[in-house]
């Protein structure tokens, strides 16, 4: 049977990916350039008996999806810079209370209202650190409309599997660009649902670590009855200030994402012409499209260039980037911000190679020639 093919905007592809993953609840608040996601969900969810709600603000939006997730729904919200700033409060709540949810951030420039209709990549560090307190983060960064679809599906899978908020970041360029999408058949992509508790209701503890670092989550309104709080809690879900319990809990919540097995599962990178490369362009999101073009051009000019593209931004692919740092003379990091991911690269490669950034924050995309110029300069 011929596959379904469509010409979709990135934001539409995102909504379609969410529906493929089984999303049945969306809580949102309009903001450019993410609004089309809400618009598609508002139209599609009632068709499958799902729920769409436009809340009074972005804090309300993420609150509503956390509530719905605890009641057993697969949930999504979508926003952009200013709205993500508001959501930070409850991103932390979803971290500590370990509630699966997916948050789309269609990035624009900033700070504050910034340039609502211009692209940016300035929320990369916000996605890692944007809420108070120690916490782990998972953030995915697709670079094409097809990839927005598949990475949105993967975001749901990771949220459900690791019981936490997962962010998908892409910029306005990919969000509003139209590309050909080939819809995967049902069953073609893996779809993961949170594991149900295996113990009887009277034995259930919402943070029971005897099942590993990710305890099974029951649903409100089922036979299981439980308490959830944003305070540091013990395995039974009730607040505790006992030093050893708080310590164990805080460390587990980071370990569940950052242990080697989880990293191997969550990390996803694309490597392009890296094997013999002397210089590697480390680019993510739409910037990687210019980077690929630049690498091809450089190769034609006889410069051994390659590209490393993290699709999972967080956790950062530390090991692989460190290896590349040992192999090459230089790494060039183009970003539509004034330097964010480059600090993470610097932390990882230390002084093993030269490092240079290419930055642009005027609302226009980074061009291949800007990247080419920087590569030549650094070599």
């Amino acid at each position: 049977m011929a596959k379904k093919i469509a010409l979709l905007q990135g934001n539409e592809a995102c909504a379609q990916g969410a529906l493929y993953a089984g999303c049945n609840f969306f809580g949102g608040y309009p903001i450019t350039p993410s609004t089309e996601i809400a618009e598609v969900m508002a139209g599609e969810l009632p068709k499958i008996g799902g729920k769409f709600i436009q809340m009074e603000d972005e804090i309300g939006a993420i609150a509503s999806i956390i509530g719905a997730s605890l009641a057993g729904s697969k949930v999504l919200t979508a926003s952009s810079g200013p709205g993500i700033s508001l959501k930070q409060e409850l991103i932390g709540y979803a971290c500590i209370a370990e509630v699966p949810c997916v948050i789309i951030n269609v990035m624009r420039g900033g700070p504050s209202t910034g340039m609502p209709t211009g692209p940016g990549q300035s929320d990369v560090m916000q996605a890692r650190w944007g809420t108070h307190g120690d916490h782990a983060a998972i953030a995915l960064c697709p670079a094409s409309c097809q990839e927005i679809f598949t990475e949105t599906v993967r975001a749901f899978n990771l949220a459900e599997k690791y019981r936490m908020p997962v962010q998908v970041l892409y910029d306005e360029i990919v969000g509003h660009m139209r590309e050909r999408i080939v819809f995967p058949e049902p069953g073609e992509l893996e779809v993961i649902d949170r594991p149900a508790p295996s113990v009887p209701p009277e034995k259930y503890k919402p943070f029971d670590t005897s099942f590993g670092d990710v305890p099974p989550l029951a649903a409100y309104g089922s036979d299981y009855r439980f308490h959830v709080t944003g305070l540091n809690k013990a395995e039974d879900g009730f607040p505790t200030t006992k030093a050893e319990l708080v310590d164990a809990e805080e460390r587990r919540q980071i370990r569940k994402v950052e242990c080697p097995e989880a990293r191997a599962d969550i990390e996803s990178n694309e490597e392009y012409l890296i094997d013999d490369a002397e210089v590697v362009v480390l680019a993510y999101g739409s910037t990687s499209r210019s980077a690929r073009y630049a690498v091809n051009e450089l190769r034609e000019q006889g410069i051994k260039a390659g590209m490393f593209r993290p699709i999972t931004l967080w956790p950062f692919p530390e090991k692989r980037v460190a290896q590349i740092g040992e192999q090459v003379k230089a790494i060039v990091v183009p970003e539509m911000n004034l330097g964010q991911m480059i600090f993470e690269v610097e932390r990882v490669v230390k002084n093993s190679c030269k490092l240079a950034g290419v930055h642009r924050v005027d609302g226009d995309p980074l061009t291949p020639s800007q990247i080419i110029d920087q590569v030549k300069e650094v070599l």
């Binding site: 609840f25 009632p46 804090i59 609150a63 997730s69 409060e89 009855r225 308490h227 959830v228």
Partner: protein
Amino acid sequence: MAYDYEKSIRPGKLPHIWCPGCGHGIVMKGLIRAMDACGLEKKNTAIVSGIGCASRMPGYLDFNTLHTAHGRAAAFATGIKMAKPEMTVICCGGDGDGAAIGGNHFIHACRRNIDMTYVLMNNYIYGMTGGQFSSSTPTGHLASTTPYGNPDPCFDLAKLAIGAGATFVARTTAFHANQIDKLIAEGIKHKGMAIIEVLDDCPTTYGRRNKFRSVVDMMKRLKEIAVPVTAAAKMTPEQLEGKTLTGVLHKEDRPEYCENYAKIIARVQGA
């Protein structure tokens, strides 16, 4: 035989954190009796709160309970109710939580007329943080951040709820313990957003600063200022000076949010 509260309390979770003389415990007992009177099934009931002394209540209750972030109870609760309209959803919390930081979520939940019951404990103060003024501290009263008397005007919370569109609004006080459960029960049975404001006392941070020497003094004040709506009809404006109306202040029938959404689903799926 004495009423059995224990069946609704989570084993091992008492004693509670509230100070001796705090009104929140009286409200919790009222809430327990109300849920019992309505025959609520534990597994189909969610109790949601924000942050504050009042918001600690759900932790003691043996239901599905959600202690959220400061001010956000109504928004979390909206998600639960939308996801599972068959559940009974109850919010509880303080005046600062519900009407100051959470004011926006509060009024919009009222506007939607989503089927929830919100028990708002108005003790005129931010109790948990040590007695700073809230949006319901009366003008002129003393709080730790109004050492010269509160310059702010305050909300009439019941009026706020009515104005925002709640379809059942009632008020009582922590002194009128026997009315609390009846009004909450009426609110639970009401289809739509039900707000029950309970004028409450915080002897620790509000009472002692405002010349209420003892809990008894505070309770006497709650008794004195309360006038049932039915009695108020026969009173002159002079007689009503400084009084607060209690009982069911507002009740109307208006389409409920989740039912409306269910109709949209039916229409879209039928098409």
